[in-house]
Amino acid sequence: MDISLTPETIFHFGSFPITNTLLITLIISAIIIVTSLFLKKNLKIIPTGFQNIIEYILESFLNLIDSVTHDREQTKKFFPLVVTIFIFIILSNWVELVPGLGTIGINVAKNGHSSFIPFIRSSSADLNVTLAIALISVFSAQFMGIAAIGAVKYAGKFFVNPFRKPYFIGTFVGVLELISEVAKVISFSFRLFGNIFAGEVLLLVMLELVPYFVPVPFLFLELFVGFIQALVFAMLTLVFLKIAVTETSH
């Protein structure tokens, strides 16, 4: 059993490494895109079947975001980012539940000994993916903040004049805010990565120890964890967006 912290490279495309997580990401993206195209083509004013489910999910999110922003216009601005994060992350989290996780793959001889490279690896168990989403989430918050309250006012959140009221405390808090923006990226990406990577390892170990029946409860656990982590990522993004577009009050 090989457990690798990093995603395994299946082959190289020129100098570009094609990892198993990149493949999974592309497959998930393709599924989402095809589904959305199919949905758009078959959109009906009286919904049926699949459209009902999607509408229910999207409307729930609309209400959820509304309950945070209290503003329909803002909701419409935040909606694409927050919901895409949720959908993409929940699908990539649930990839670890696909049968064949860690078992279907190829053996590659490397440095004298052969190592096993699985094809299926949850893309959330790749720091590149989680970091990319975290960067998009945090940078979107910066851009939306600047667009909503102006560059000067937005910068004023972080750079506070030490000679005005609350004096040095204000300046210090501003610097802390600046650091926390960077910390957000790290906490976002490592939280998701850690949870899903741990889940994968757990499932693999369980499968190795007791192949039958015992891994089932852990599958349910991971189903739950995958949902929670996706929701946490989306909700935190939403809250950070809301904080970014809100002016500081003194």
Binding site: I54, T84, F88, L127, N128, L131
Partner: protein, 161 residues
């Protein structure tokens, strides 16, 4: 950087994932959220409008029913009035007609009685005058003949009978 490398962070892959996710957001925004949210909105509006319309039409229906009832009541009242009036008029007319008819018959009776009387008198007068002439001529004839005693006697007897 060493740490990130050990954790599997690779600049190329990171960039690829960034682009990937950005495209995903754009596509979903364009093809899923936009149309579906729009649809939801239009449906909500439609349902709202439908409910409002239904309420309105119900109100209107109630109003119309009320009006109808009023009109019906009015019409019934008027019809009764008209019937009553017609009955009264008819009774009056009938009385009048009867009275007129009575008068006319009485008049006609009167006239006919008078005529009958006049005719009678006329006939009587004519009969009288005729009888007189007859008597005269008869008596002339009788007197012109020889009056014997026998005949005389007979005449007397006859007259006496």
């Amino acid at each position: 950087m060493e740490l990130l490398n050990n954790l599997g962070v690779n600049g190329k892959l990171l960039l690829a994932q960034l682009v990937n996710f950005a495209i995903l957001i754009w596509v979903l925004h364009k093809f899923a959220y936009g149309p579906i949210l729009k649809l939801l909105e239009t449906r909500t509006k439609k349902i709202e409008k439908g409910l409002k319309d239904a309420e309105k039409s119900q109100k209107k229906l109630a109003e119309i029913e009320e009006k109808e009832e009023k009109v019906l009541v009015k019409a019934r009242k008027k019809a009764q009035e008209i019937i009553k009036k017609a009955e009264e008029l008819a009774v009056e007319n009938a009385n009048e007609i009867v009275i007129v008819a009575k008068e006319q018959t009485e008049k006609m009776l009167d006239i006919s009685q008078k005529q009958i009387k006049q005719e009678k008198e006329k006939i009587l007068r004519e009969v009288k005058s005729e009888i007189a002439t007859l008597v005269v001529s008869a008596s002339e004839k009788i007197i012109g003949e020889k009056l014997d005693s026998e005949k005389d006697q007979e005449l007397i007897k006859h007259s006496l009978k």
